[in-house]
Symmetry: C2
Subunit: 115 residues, 2 copies
């Protein structure tokens, strides 16, 4: 299995066009894929089924959603529980770092309409 085929970059791998493989860039590479952060965000308040999660992600296409789920599962950020997909402990840790962005965004976004 080559780096190219592996779902998510490992430490030292070329990272989707990035060749440094620094941890933060590995993370950015993962999070900057469509719906990756949205999935974490929408699982934060409890487990969701595939279709439930899909609705909350504005009906993201199931192919992309499923690809993202595989990726996030492969790096142990989410897991499939009897109650549906849910954040793992690592996922909750990561979410705790993302969470403050919600408040910050609420202060930031309205200012954009000046354009």
């Amino acid at each position: 299995m080559s780096a190219r085929d592996r779902p998510v970059a490992r430490l030292g791998d070329p990272v989707r066009g990035s060749r440094s493989g620094q941890p933060i860039m590995v993370l950015f590479d993962l999070l900057s894929r469509r719906w990756a952060m949205g999935i974490l965000w929408n699982l934060a308040d409890g487990p969701r089924t595939f279709r439930d999660l899909r609705e909350r992600c504005d009906s993201a296409s199931p192919s992309v959603l499923n690809t993202r789920i595989k990726e996030l599962r492969s790096v142990n950020l989410i897991e499939n529980t009897p109650g549906g997909y849910a954040l793992t402990e690592s996922g909750r840790e990561l979410f705790r770092h993302l969470e403050p962005l919600g408040d910050w965004a609420m202060d930031w976004v309205p200012g954009l309409d000046r354009g």
Copy 2:
């Protein structure tokens, strides 16, 4: 100028397939574009010229880099100073929220090699 042509979503706009327009989704939409977070990260320790920044972003293609720069400038996260591109005050605020991810990623990434 339609929402589709505007570089970055405004509050209430459909957000690249997302129709909620919640602030956090507007932010996620912006940050989940290629190199958006990398640019903020690489400008955190001082201004950089276009070419300098490009090298730090693993030689990202200039077209994408320039597109991202336009977007980040249009929402007042970076600006073009005499010394090169630099974070604005808003940009530094946002970076302060991103910064802890660097340490977290260093704990997280090595564990991925168990796959």
